[in-house]
Structure formats: C-alpha cells, structure tokens
C-alpha cells in the first residue's frame, strides 16, 4: 500500500567513483537551476498588495481559490508524470538520465525555491497572474515527483508476457497505452495522487503569502486567510478557517480518494497477500453512474492531442503501409524539431544558469557566511530529534497494527485524514503555544519539523505492515513464537524497506518544514532560532541578500544530496535486498 515510490526500482549498486561523479553532477545541476531562477531577480516585481479581508463570509470563496490552485497544479502534475514517467520507463538510455534528475528534485527542499520562483514568474507575467502561476508552480513541484516515479515503476514492472501478448496481436502504441500502460499505472498513480494532495496542501498554505523582497502579496485563499487571521489575533476566524480546510479535505477524501482507491484495486496484478474483503461505497455507485458520460466527454477532448503526443514520443511508429509518404515525413520532421527545441531550451537554461551562478558568487560574501557550517549542524540536530520522536511513536503503532487487525483498520482512515491536514495551517497555534510555554522558539521549531516528518513514516510503516503475508504470520503463530520473537523475526524485518522509504520521504518533508519552522513572524515580531533554515529566511525576507540566499540554499541542497547518496540510498539498497518479501 503506502510505500513511496522510486527507490525500489533502482537498486543497481554503483561504484564509489560513479556515485561521487553523479553526486557532483546533480549538485551542479541543482545549483544551476537555483541560479537561473535568481537571474530574474533583476526584474524586481512591483506588487500591489491588496489588503486581505478576514471574515468568515469570505471563506467559501477562499476555499474555492485554494482548491482550484491545487487542481490546476495536480492536472499539470498528472500529465507531466504520465509523459515523463512512461518516456523514462520505455528506454534504458532515457531512464539513466531522466530518473536521477527526479531523484534530486524530489529530495531538494522546494520551500527554499519560493522567492526564486516568484522572481521568475512575476517577471513573466506581472501582477496577480504571475503570483498565481508561481503558487501553482510551487504546488506542482510538491506534487509531481512521486507521481512520476509511480508511473515509471508501474510501466517498468509490467510483466513481459503481458507486453508480448499485445505485441503478438500487432497492437499499436495507442492500444498498448490504453489497454496496458495506463491501467498498469492506476494503482500507484491513485496512491501517489493522495500523497501528492497531502503534500500540496502543506505547501499551498505556506505559499499563498508571497514575499518578494520588500513587497508582500497575499493571494486570496485558505492559507493566507489563516495566516492573516493568526497575525491579527482573530481566533474565531482562525478556527473557522481551519474548519473550512478540514471540510474540504474530508470531502475530497470521501468523494474522490476513497472511491478511487477502491476502483484502483481492480487494476492490481498481484493479489494482496492478506486479502481483505473490498470496501464498497455508495459513493462509488453514484460515481459510476455519471462516470460513462464524463469518460465520453474526456475522450473527445483528450484523444486527438494525446494520440499525437504518443505518436511523437514513440520510438518506432507502427508500420503502416497505407500512410502517405508526406505524412510520414512531416511526422518525422516534427519529432526532430521537438527534440531540437528541447535541447535548445535546455542548453540555453544551462548557460544562463551557470553564468548567473558565477556572477552571484563573485559578489562579496557577507560575514554571516562563516556561520553556515555551525547553522547546518544546529539544524541537523533539530531534524534528528524530530526524526527520533517520529520513530518513537510510529514504530510501536505499526507493530501494534500488525498484531491487531481491528486497530489497523480503525487507524488507517483516521491517520489518513489527520495526516492530510496540513501542519502549516497549525503553525501559528503551535508556535504561540510553545513560545508562551518555554519562552523560546527551539522546542516549537522541533515540533514544527515533527509535523512535517511523522506522517510519512506512519503511512509507510502501516503500508509495510499490511503487506506482511498472512501465511508468514500464521507460521509464526503456529510454531509458537512469542510476541517479542515475532517482532524480531517477522514484523521488524518485514517493515524494514518501508521504514527506509518512510525515513527518506520524512527527511524530505523535514527539510521543507525546517525552512518554515526556524523563522516565524507573528504580529510584527520575528521569532527565530539559530539554524540553516532561519539563515535562509532571514536572507530572503529581511536582508534580501542574493549571495546569502544562494549560499544557504546550496549548502542545504549539498547536505541533502550527500545524506541521500551516502546514507539513505545505501541503507535502502541493503534493506530491499535483504528484507524484501518475494519467496
């Protein structure tokens, strides 16, 4: 069930030299991307910040605004993941280039790119449209990567004989896509979509208030509503806003995700090891009655462009003796132009990014630069504490769920809902509470990081537990293993891969939370702790120092990449090699 995607498929053990090389390359690529965005800083955006009205009456409108932002980002992420994921999975050569890029993008803290993305998009389109685009882009970056890896893995793991069966019938690329590739993606895509929406809400709340240098822009939406309400000390509105957010999330879960999950079950290849009777929901029947008409509509709209895209992407267009030579030649020319265009854009971006990088780094470095290593250590300590606290409650929870079916069944939906309430919405409350209690920001900051980490661990562990085959549990009981022996011999080894995937995603979420949690402005007062995230925020919002932003961001990216390559990736390889269930 809930196992973050991506790492499973690539267990190719790399040699150290190649690891180093690819690490350096990916770091350089990210550095260039960051710098490219900052290159647009010279177009200082002039933003008119309308005063946001905080009144419960406005809530439906704000909820709608937030929702359409999420939906727009999701639709783009969906199309992107289908095209990118399928393309990467269908050729080894492409996979070697395309998947490491996603790996890096996935582990880099998106929040750090906020200001950069705003400069870029506001310079493209002025005013609210630019800010909207920036917000949608940021939400997109929090949604897309796991979906891409989900599609990639699904297409890659399609059994060869299924593919051969279609080939043997001389099926066209289009038919293969419709009958095999897309259906194969459904289970992982639905699961990853749920995760993506959770991540999306988290960022939405944080990114509706956009600060670009001295200007601040508040997009109408639930996130800015909550932040503004908290800032003005309007408790009633704050609670109303939280309830509205919760209502949207619960409604999404009941109306969309639960029926979709049930529906996705029928696309599974393997039968679940411990098969539970499928939950049937009244909602599903209702959906299936309006389903066909929607499908028909979608088909007429999307089929021609999709077919065209597929045709362009396919390596070997099906041989068609009736095709006119002109059509064939035009198709080939179009494909060539498309590839050339993409290369041109890439090369242009790379050169532009590198020059921007060098130009920025050639400026005088502020004295605060020397504190970066110490700040990194301070932030790492906070993250480690938050991680350990997460482990401390999620592992016992998962083990108990493995022993008690009723508990597991009751926990899953509750955790799903509670976990998808974006912690960013609760930040003002948490910070206030802890500052009042301890007088400082340190504990608050750790709790905020915790909210960005713990659910990934819990979901992955619960997923791992649900995958333990029923016959293994029976064998353990049948041979009279004690509770502790069962944990040692069966439960803990069985959840080791999920623990690693959970840890990797939790740290990814943690880095994002770190940036939001070390620096908090409330009623004009700034609460901060000493750390990398606070340094980045300070450079972004207070001093507006480009060199400092770039340096802190790059240090963060470097630490993330090094940790992933040299710790998590290795542990993951060991765990999946030794503890996978495939007898």
């Amino acid at each position: 069930m809930l196992r973050g995607s991506g790492w499973q498929a690539r267990m190719a053990s790399q040699t150290n030299a190649r690891r180093m090389l690819s690490t350096a390359a990916s770091f350089l690529a990210v550095a260039a991307i960051v710098a490219l965005f900052f290159a647009y800083k010279r177009y200082q955006p002039a933003l008119h910040a309308p005063r946001l009205r905080v009144h419960a009456r406005e809530l439906p409108y704000y909820a709608f605004c937030s929702f359409y932002r999420m939906l727009a980002a999701y639709v783009i992420a969906l199309l992107f993941s289908l095209i990118y994921g399928t393309a990467a999975a269908r050729s080894r050569a492409r996979e070697r280039v395309m998947i490491p890029i996603i790996d890096v993008l996935q582990s880099v803290p998106v929040v750090g790119f906020f200001p950069a993305a705003i400069y870029f998009f506001v310079s493209l389109a002025h005013g609210r449209l630019g800010v909207e685009l920036a917000a949608i882009f940021l939400i997109f970056t929090s949604m897309a990567w796991n979906m891409v890896l989900g599609v990639f893995e699904s297409v890659r793991t399609i059994p060869t004989d299924s593919m051969e069966a279609l080939d043997a019938f001389g099926a066209s690329w289009w038919l293969k896509l419709k009958r095999l590739l897309l259906p194969a993606c459904v289970p992982k895509l639905v699961y990853n979509s749920i995760l993506s929406w959770v991540g999306g809400w988290y960022f939405l709340i944080a990114c509706e208030i956009i600060t670009a240098g001295p200007a601040e822009y508040r997009l109408p939406g639930l996130g800015s509503f909550l932040m503004t309400a908290a800032d003005r000390g309007r408790t009633g509105e704050l609670i109303a806003g939280l309830l509205a957010l919760l209502a949207v999330i619960v409604a999404m879960d009941i109306v969309v995700w639960q029926p979709l999950s049930t529906w996705a079950e029928k696309f599974r290849y393997e039968f679940a090891a411990s098969s539970e009777p499928m939950r049937s929901l009244g909602m599903l029947d209702a959906l299936s009655s309006i389903g066909p008409s929607i499908t028909r509509l979608m088909r007429t709209i999307f089929r021609p462009p999709l077919r065209w895209i597929v045709h362009l992407l396919s390596n070997r267009p099906p041989f068609d003796p009736a095709a006119h030579p002109l059509v064939v030649r035009t198709g080939r020319a179009l494909r060539l132009a498309l590839i050339a265009g993409m290369f041109f854009i890439l090369a242009y971006g790379l050169i532009e990014g590198l020059t921007a990088l060098i130009r920025t780094l050639l400026q005088p470095w502020p004295s605060a630069t020397r504190q970066i290593p110490a700040a990194t250590v301070a932030s790492m300590i906070r993250m480690t504490i938050a991680y350990l606290i997460s482990l401390l409650w999620t592992i016992p929870c998962a083990i108990y769920a493995s022993e008690n079916q009723r508990f597991a069944r009751a926990l899953a939906p509750i955790a799903e809902i509670v976990g998808s309430v974006p912690a960013t919405a609760l930040f003002p409350l948490i910070v206030l509470f802890f500052i009042r209690m301890t007088g400082g920001m340190n504990l608050a900051s750790i709790v905020l990081i915790l909210t960005g980490m713990q659910w990934y661990l819990l979901f992955n562990l619960l997923g791992g537990v649900s995958q333990i085959p029923a016959d293994l549990k029976e064998a353990a009981r049948s041979f009279g293993l004690s509770r502790i022996q069962t944990w040692r011999k069966l439960t803990l080894p069985a959840i080791a891969p999920s623990l690693l995937t959970g840890s990797i995603t939790a740290w990814g979420g943690g880095w994002n939370a770190l940036i939001l949690s070390e620096y908090f402005v409330y009623r004009g007062a700034t609460h901060e702790v000493f750390g990398l995230g606070a340094m980045l925020d300070e450079a972004t919002y207070k001093t507006n120092n480009g060199v400092m932003i770039l340096l802190t961001l790059l240090s963060m990216v470097l630490v993330v990449i090094l940790l992933n390559r040299f710790m998590w990736r290795r542990l993951y390889d060991v765990a999946t090699e030794r503890y996978r269930i495939d007898y």
Binding site: P277, D471, L472, A475, F479, G480, S482, Q485, K489
Partner: protein
C-alpha cells in the same frame, strides 16, 4: 484413547452479506500412527479445519480434543506445513528450520544439532546458508518440511504441501514423505494431509476423509488398505480413486 478428536466442529466467517458457513458439524477421531488425507472440492473448508486443529483459528462451535483434553490456543504438539511454504525470506535455510526450536527456547548449540539432523533427513545438505529466494520450489518445501519436523511434533499437519510444485518434484517429495513417516527414528507417526488431488490421497494415506462443500460436512470416511508401495496403474488404486471422485461429485 484417540490422539485427536473433533467433536461437532463448525465454523463460519463474518461476511459483507451476513456470514458464510464453511464447516458444519464435523466429527471424527484420529489415532496415533495414522496417515489421514482430507479431500474435497475447493471451498469445503479443509484448510480451515487444519487451522482449527492447529489452534490458529477458533471454531465457531464444537471442540477439538487432544489426548482427551480440550485444545485452547496453539497446539505445539502439531506442526504445520504450508502450501506457500511460508518461509521467512530474510532468514537462511538453517535459521528458518531453527525457528520453531527458538520459539521453544532451546539453546543455540542444541538447536544447531537438531536442525542439522533434519537438514540431512530432507536432503538439504550444502544449502544451510542459502536464502529461500535462491531455492527452487521443491527445495523450499523441503525447508518447510524440515522446519515442521525439527520441532519433533506428534502430529504433522500438511496443507496442500505439493500443490505449488511441478508434477515431477511432487512425486519425489511424496516418496520422501512416506520414507520419513515409515522410518522408526522419526518421532512423528501421525500425519494429516489436506489435498485436492485424489490420487495423492490414495497413494499416501491409509484413511481418506471426504468433505462436501458449502458448507463443509464429512461426506465419507474411507479406509485405504492397498498394499504399499502403491502403484497408480493397479486396478485397486483406480477403483478407489474413482470411488472418491464420485463421492465428491455427487455431493457438490
């Protein structure tokens, strides 16, 4: 006194549309030294019955008596062999076989000795340190068999043990199972095997219990007194096979 006695066992499972009756009023006794096969169509609850005997799941009604005492919880005098082998993929062959011994708190040296004996008995020499995923299906089931034998149970319960194997491997393993059953130095003399392959039942068992389906009831209790070793081409063999087959057919 019978070694094992089932008294009016019934079992139903909760289901979305009410409850599903799997077993109804099944009673029989098993004596020490018997080789009993349970056959029946799919869905007759034969695997469920094995799990009730082992204590893995409680019966809805009736009781299981072991040496005259009511069984409550797992009966460690029984050992179960699974159709899917149910080996722990992260443990070596040896560690898998030692699993039941470890559960009983037997010290490592003794465990190793005992595991060694049964590794030898089932022909797994040289594979002690291998992992299940490196073995063929037949070898995996040898591990499953050795793991069950190593705890030296009084009753060996086998749930379709050869159904996941290819026909040739199954023939070899059946012969080896009979060798183990006959050999004097093995503590296990009583075997219950669940199977849907009628020839397998006739070849191995000296008593066949036929279950009917929906719900599972005891349809027949047939002795098999064909001389051993049994030949599948013999007339008596075929006659009995046909008889069991027609019994199953008329009840389903």
């Amino acid at each position: 006194m019978a070694l094992l006695e089932l008294k009016n066992i019934s079992k139903s499972f909760a289901h979305a549309q009410g409850s599903l009756r799997v077993l109804e009023d099944v009673s029989f006794t098993i004596d020490e030294g018997q080789f009993v096969a349970i056959v029946g169509p799919s869905g007759c609850g034969k695997s469920t019955m094995l799990r009730i005997i082992n204590g893995l799941m409680p019966a809805t009604g009736g009781q299981v008596l072991y040496q005259g005492k009511q069984v409550d919880g797992i009966n460690l005098e029984c050992a179960l062999v699974f159709q899917s082998f149910a080996l722990l993929p992260w443990l070596s062959v040896k560690a898998n076989i030692e699993l039941g011994l470890e559960a009983q708190g037997i010290p490592p040296a003794e465990r190793e000795k005992r595991a060694g004996i049964y590794i030898d008995k089932v022909g797994l020499d040289g594979f002690e340190e291998a992992y299940p995923r490196e073995l063929s299906g037949g070898m995996k089931q040898r591990v499953g068999l050795a793991r069950a034998l190593a705890v030296e149970p009084r009753v060996l319960l086998m749930d379709e043990p050869f159904s996941a194997l290819d026909a040739l491997t199954a023939i070899t393993l059946r012969e080896e199972l009979l060798d183990i059953w006959r050999s004097r130095d093995m503590p296990v003399h009583t075997i219950m095997i669940v199977t849907h392959i009628i020839e397998e039942a006739v070849e191995l068992a000296d008593r066949i219990l036929v279950l009917s389906a929906h719900p599972g009831r005891l349809a027949a209790d047939l002795p098999v007194d064909l001389p051993r070793p049994r030949d599948r081409r013999e007339e008596g063999f075929n006659a009995l096979t046909d008889k069991v087959f027609s019994l199953i057919e008329e009840r389903s």
